[in-house]
């Protein structure tokens, strides 16, 4: 045998093939030829390497260095630099998506390192079209052992001992199945392989067949010996041409070598095989339908019993297993059942191959020990969710399976555990879905698939799935009605119970599991005609508008910027939002996360454009509104929720008084958000507009102290409690009461009150939210020499907006991740340090983030003279009388949906904003205020027997319907910011706003999802 200095392994799986690996192989061959390296370097086309997302994949041995996305023109550089000069080509190496670390060696990449290869142990290593390479890796040793040294009973015993269960999805113990068939009477028996892989998103079997076809042949040969069969068929879908091609090569080579045919190994045992191509019916994956298809009949299932082990193909005893099951067999025979059963869980042994796909960074093929958690597969091997999106659910088991939501990420891959949470192991298709997925739409998709693939034989499947699809389509298109969910559940239960075969019996699973975990999403579609994920396009005009809690008409005002009609644009803003200048600066702009332009390059800078309008439009004078109603309304709390409610109620003719404990209005806008993000003049301007309507303000008045609660209750027809969440949560550690320890909001409030808060030289801020960042950046501006932020999780887990985090780091804040404080150390009552502990990530919590766990012995002390605890806020509800209940989180309790979302159990008293939800965002507070105004007004009118409020006709603003034919990639227009040096010690606004040219350029990027063509 010839020895080569280097092997260049190019992946030739279907994935890499379609990204151009054939050309890459040619290019390498050309380069090797040109440099006369033919005797030193061998180029091998292998089967699927697994890392399909970044193909074409090239691995260079003996080093084991892996290159990603290799183009034909890279071949010369790899040969020149790596092979000849020993310098790996860095630009083609793997880069960890989060840390950006370059990892040259294949096995150091978590995607590979965390896998356990048994079924795939030859993947990417051998040329699948050469039987010698399979034999060199101990191939056909299991068959030799089985045929020459073992009895059929012995083989079955070994397979039973291994605990192997059917990998096609049923999970039936393989050894038992073989035993039944072996005990069945009859001269003629058959061994069949199910390679009719048809689940959307599944490609496990294809990869095995392409990478290691002999493993399947060998497994079938061993099965044949075990049951006494002499003929086998591989039922492979015709859509897998490469798999069929390689299988046929493998069969011919095996025949040539005497490994198929008569008297194999001189044992006297004969067995032969052929490939039968399926015509692409999903139902032919069902065993009785598959057999009907091989017999030349229409692929329709028949009721069992009789089971195939007794009456299968042509009514003869038959064993049918899936590709992956067979590929496991040779090693079970060589290494023993006990070896196989040494990994896995109690009832699920060995490994499982998953086709990892969907919204996940490392799309590809993975093999892990049974018992590995779903979270590990998605986040460690899969590298998490692309573009920093949140994980929503993973579909396991394809159209027969169910979804696994965030709270079940710790579920082990174990047949029983997965069934318990409403999914099935299935054949191993694992489709990851991010926050932009609508679960009703997912259910609709899979139901569409099932009804389309139903063979039409039995009524529950043929008609039932169609009717379920109709209901789901109605829900997605806004025609859903009350009772639909219950009807779906009823139909699902009956179809599961009464359909003829597995296809029908499992078809309702995606519906049931999405209802189980995402019932609220169904309800949003049916009751509110809303698709929260902005997928069901019949229910909204544009994703941005749909995502905005107050449904701002984003495409309209962007179109008006483009038309340079800023005054009209400003009017559009005011229609839904009383604080557009504020939101143009501090809104968390969830709309941008859903912007479709983001799928092309970057989302539209909606927030910046909004600010551009408010900075540049002429502001119309606000006229006061005459009081036309006799009911007076009190609003407690002058933050965004309270002010919005006051504005909307005043506009309906009510006399409204806002009570505010602090000297100025604005709530968190003034006392929480620092001035460098929201200049006070901007805030004042918008509050003044509300004052101008005629709303009365009583500042420096704490309800319950300066004015008794019962007095207000008596005087006013309705009360709106919007007191926010202005108390920091305590750290609950020793030393918290030392001088120099502040709560985050209290610290910010002191600064914003202008009371000259005392800031230490070395400040530790604890927390990872926006308040923590605000506190850290404010501390720096107030003269701290060093600010350290301690966060117990990792960067991607931070609730703070990433651009805020980046700004803080830019200004000099140091962030320590995976660190939690244990104790504040004091000397003479003053802070001198904080004792910390390092954390590591453990299992997933209900939010889908890994729970931090302390590392023993990792404690260390940071020398600081000030500690700011910004780990969360709670409302101060001490002023409330007893009849207004609070929740266990100290928030004000409101009734559920039926009676409106803002009414407290006490008559005439409403509540909203952070005081109800806990700390949220400005825009949610505005939304809460609007909702409260609606409900307060409605309640009063109902009490008076008046008709509901009619919204006055709004001024019609004509929106230009102009779109560009061609869209060219172009990133977001960046906003100019204050230099880092200018920020120190100054609370001047950091973001400087768009110029006219920038705003116009940015507005041109809008795809106008609102327009119908």
């Amino acid at each position: 045998m010839k020895i080569f200095r280097s092997h260049i392994l190019v992946c030739g799986g279907t994935g890499c093939h379609s990204s151009g690996s054939a050309e890459v192989i040619k290019a390498f061959a050309f380069e090797v030829e040109k440099r006369e390296l033919k005797d030193e370097v061998q180029i091998v086309e292998t089967g699927c390497n697994g890392f399909c997302a970044l193909g074409p994949i090239v691995v260079v041995y003996p080093e084991g260095i892996i290159y990603m996305q290799v183009a034909p023109e890279d071949a010369a550089e790899i040969i020149e630099e790596h092979i000849l000069k020993g310098r790996p080509v860095e630009r083609l190496l793997y880069r960890e998506p989060v840390t950006e670390e370059v990892i040259p060696y294949m096995n150091d990449i978590p995607f590979f390192g965390l896998q356990e290869l048994r079924v795939l142990h030859n993947r990417g290593l051998i040329d699948a079209e050469r039987i010698d390479e399979y034999i060199a890796r101990d191939g056909y040793q299991g068959a030799a052992k089985a045929l020459l040294e073992m009895t059929p009973e012995g083989i079955i015993e070994e397979v039973k001992k291994s605990g192997l269960r059917g990998r096609g999805g049923g999970g039936f113990p393989t050894g038992m199945k073989w035993q039944f068939a072996s005990q069945s009477m009859g001269e003629v028996k058959y061994v069949l392989c199910n390679a009719d892989e048809g689940d959307p998103g599944a490609f496990m079997d294809r990869s095995v067949l392409e990478a290691d076809p002999h493993a399947v042949l060998e497994g079938m040969l061993i099965a044949a010996k075990a049951i006494g069969a002499h003929q086998g068929y591989i039922y492979c879908r015709a859509e897998y041409p490469l798999a069929v091609h390689r299988l046929n090569i493998a069969i011919n080579q095996a025949r040539e070598y005497g490994l198929l045919g008569d008297d194999i190994f001189g044992s006297g045992f004969s067995f032969d095989l052929e490939v039968y191509q399926g015509a692409g019916a999903f139902v032919c994956g069902e065993e009785t339908a598959l057999m009907a298809s091989i017999e030349g009949r229409r692929g329709m299932p028949r009721p069992r019993p009789p089971f195939p082990a007794h009456q299968g193909l042509w009514r003869r005893p038959t064993v049918l297993n899936n590709v992956e099951s067979y590929a496991n067999i040779p090693q079970i025979i060589v290494q023993g059942g006990d070896w196989y059963a040494s990994i896995g869980t109690e009832t699920s042994k060995g490994t499982k191959v998953f086709a990892l796909t969907g919204d996940v960074n490392n799309i590809g093929l993975v093999e892990v020990p049974m018992g590995t958690t779903i979270g590990t597969i998605i986040f460690d091997i899969g590298g998490g969710i692309p573009k920093g999106k949140r994980f929503k659910a993973a579909q396991l088991g394809g159209p027969s399976g169910g979804c696994i939501p965030v709270q079940h990420l710790n579920t082990p891959t174990d047949y029983e555990a997965i069934t318990q949470i409403g999914a099935i192991m299935g054949s191993g298709g694992l489709i990851v879905m991010d926050e932009d997925t609508c679960m009703v739409d997912v259910a609709r998709f899979f139901m569409d698939f099932c009804q389309d693939e139903s063979c039409g034989k039995c009524v529950p499947c043929r008609v039932g799935t169609k009717k379920m699809l109709d209901i789901l389509t109605d829900i997605c298109e806004g025609r859903g009605k009350e009772g639909d969910i219950e009807l779906l559940e009823e139909m699902a239960a009956v179809i599961k119970d009464s359909a003829l075969c597995g296809l029908g019996q499992t078809a309702p699973n995606p519906v049931l599991s999405t209802i189980r975990y995402f019932r609220d999403e169904y309800e949003a579609h049916i009751r509110d005609k809303r698709c929260p994920a902005s997928v069901c396009s019949a229910l909204f005009t544009s994703p941005c508008q749909n995502t905005c809690p107050v449904e701002m008409d984003v495409p309209a005002y962007i179109a008006l910027i483009r038309a340079n009609r800023l005054d009209d644009a400003y009017k559009v803003l005011l229609k839904t939002n009383p604080f557009p200048s504020i939101c143009g600066r501090v809104c968390d702009h969830q709309c941008q996360g859903k912007c479709r332009r983001g799928q092309l390059d970057e989302p539209i800078a909606i927030k910046h454009l909004k600010r551009y309008i408010t900075d540049n439009a002429s502001r119309p004078t606000v006229e006061s509104i005459p009081v036309t109603r006799r009911e007076r309304i009190a609003v407690v709390g002058g933050g965004p929720a309270g002010l919005t409610a006051a504005r909307d109620l005043a506009r309906r003719g009510y006399s409204v008084t806002v009570f505010e404990e602090l000297p100025h209005l604005g709530g968190m806008l003034r006392y929480g958000i620092p001035e460098y993000r929201l200049p006070r003049a901007v805030l004042e301007r918008e509050i003044d507009d509300i004052r101008a309507l005629g709303v009365q303000f009583r500042t420096n008045t704490r309800v319950g102290k300066d004015i008794p609660f019962k007095d207000i209750r008596k005087e006013y027809a309705a009360l709106y409690l919007a007191v926010g969440a202005h108390q920091s949560q305590r750290l609950r550690i020793d030393g918290e009461d030392l001088k120099g320890v502040y709560g985050g909001v209290e610290f910010l409030r002191q600064i914003n009150l202008g009371n000259g808060a005392e800031v230490g030289k070395r400040v530790a801020v604890v927390g990872g939210g926006n308040s923590a960042i605000d506190a850290a950046r404010s501390a720096l501006r107030k003269g701290a020499q060093e600010v350290v932020l301690l966060y117990r999780r990792t960067r991607q887990d931070m609730p703070a907006q990433s651009d805020e985090v980046a700004a803080a780091e830019h200004e000099g804040v140091t962030i320590h991740f995976l660190v939690a404080p244990l104790e504040v150390i004091g000397v003479k009552g003053r802070v001198v340090g904080v004792r910390c502990q390092r954390m590591r990530l453990g299992a997933f919590d209900a939010s889908g983030r890994r729970r931090p766990e302390p590392i023993e012995g990792s404690e260390f002390v940071l020398d600081v003279d000030m500690v700011i605890a910004a780990i969360g806020q709670v409302p101060d509800v001490s002023f409330l009388p007893k009849d207004i209940p609070v929740t266990k989180w100290n928030t004000i309790e409101v009734k559920g949906n039926g009676n409106g979302r803002t009414q407290t159990p006490a008559e005439g008293i409403f509540a909203g904003g952070d005081a109800v939800t806990g700390p949220a965002t400005v825009i949610w507070a505005i939304a809460a205020g609007k909702e409260a105004a609606d409900e307060i007004d409605a309640a009063i009118r109902q009490r008076n027997d008046e008709p509901p409020f009619q919204r006055p006709e709004e001024e019609r603003i004509d929106i230009p319907q102009v779109i560009d034919e061609e869209v060219q990639e172009q990133p977001q227009a960046r906003m100019l910011e204050l230099e880092g040096s200018e920020r120190v010690g100054s609370f001047a606004e950091v973001e400087l706003g768009y110029t006219e040219e920038e705003a116009l350029r940015e507005s041109l990027r809008c795809l106008r999802c609102d327009m119908e063509l």
């Binding site: 009721p303 034989k457 039995c458 043929r462 009464s498 359909a499």
Partner: protein, 354 residues
């Protein structure tokens, strides 16, 4: 090995034959299980799921028509809420998947779907009905095919392929678009169909009906008279379907010993001669080159007289008897007996021997 097992069905402990189906056992015990795709003469399908029952320890409901009783101690329940819910849903779904408007249907009053809707007490449709929109096959005078009324029970397919072995029709397409098709989805006239009408005979609804019998009479107005088919010596038992003294169609008699309901194209569809105006209804006697109507007595007397005279004048062997394949065995027997014993000749023959 014993051939019986003890099982419990609806709380009764009974002996069952090993291998018989749950439906067979229930029928024997007088327990009613509704069926739809099941037909006693056809191979089993288990497709419609109307006959489902609960079997303890089974993962899902099972179709009683195909499920064999093998296990000692099996516990079967045929009438639980769970079973009824499944049956009702199956029928409701069928009702919603075609043009099932009984007022406009030839099979009104003779429809197993209609009977099931009533039996399962379905008062109003819960799902919007949707017609599949198939075109109507009126291509031939024998079989009228409206697949919009088809419930895809597959009886016709089994009857065509496995009883008559004509292999003209099968399931085609998939999912909600599934329909019964001939090769290349052509009309019956353009197919290899021989119009035996077996499919019509087993169709439980109004999808396949005798074309000439459409609008000829409602089932409740029809009187069925069993008789023997007159076309050949096979002796198939047929039912004359009679409305007001007129035969409007012929159906196979399922109790017929020789045919068990099956017929050929002549026996099923060739009945128009019965009321044909050219058909002789009274005996005729030719006098002076002209036929005149006569009574039976008159005609028989004349025949007897002439035969007697020929025999006396020329001897019995100058007379021969030829009988028809359309006569019954009994009639043929009588014919040869008459020739031999009364006439005294062996000149006897039969048209089917030619």
């Amino acid at each position: 090995m014993s051939n019986t097992v003890t099982v419990t069905i609806d709380g009764r402990e009974v002996k069952a034959h090993k291998g018989e189906t749950i439906l067979e056992l229930a029928t024997r015990l007088g327990i009613h299980i509704p069926t739809l795709c099941y037909h006693p003469r056809l191979p089993l399908a288990g497709a419609c799921r109307v006959c489902v029952v609960e079997v303890e320890r089974a993962r899902a409901l099972v179709a009683s028509c195909v499920f064999p009783i093998e296990q000692e101690g099996m516990v079967i329940k045929t009438n639980t809420e769970r079973v009824l819910a499944a049956r009702r849903m199956a029928v409701e779904l069928l009702l919603a998947s075609g043009d099932h408007n009984c007022l406009l249907c030839e099979s009104n009053g003779h429809c197993e779907l209609q009977d099931l809707v009533y039996e399962l007490k379905i008062e109003r449709p819960r799902f919007p009905a949707e017609s599949p929109g198939h075109s109507i096959d009126d291509s031939n005078p024998m079989i009228f095919r409206d697949l919009n009324k088809c419930i895809l029970c597959g009886r016709c397919v089994r009857a065509c392929n496995e009883v008559q072995v004509n292999q003209v029709i099968d399931f085609g397409y998939r999912g909600g678009r599934t329909k019964i098709v001939t090769a290349e989805d052509r009309s019956y006239a353009e197919s290899t169909c021989v119009f035996c009408g077996e499919c019509v005979q087993v169709c439980p609804v109004g999808a396949l009906v005798e074309n000439k019998a459409r609008f000829a009479g409602r089932p409740w107005a029809i009187k069925k008279v069993p008789t023997t088919c007159t076309y050949c010596g096979t002796g198939c038992t047929i039912d004359l379907n009679i409305v007001d003294g007129t035969v409007v169609k012929i159906t196979g008699n399922e109790d017929g010993v020789t045919n068990q309901g099956s017929l050929c194209v002549k026996g099923r569809f060739g009945y128009e001669f019965i009321h044909h105006p050219d058909r002789l209804a009274t005996p005729l006697i030719k006098e002076n080159g002209q036929f005149r109507e006569a009574t039976w007595d008159e005609a028989l007397d004349l025949t007897a007289e002439k035969l007697g005279q020929i025999k006396a004048d020329h001897g019995p062997d100058t007379i021969g008897g030829l009988s028809s394949a359309r006569c019954t065995n009994e009639e043929n027997y009588l014919m040869q007996k008459f020739m031999r014993a009364v006439i005294g000749t062996n000149n006897v023959d039969h048209c089917a021997r030619l």
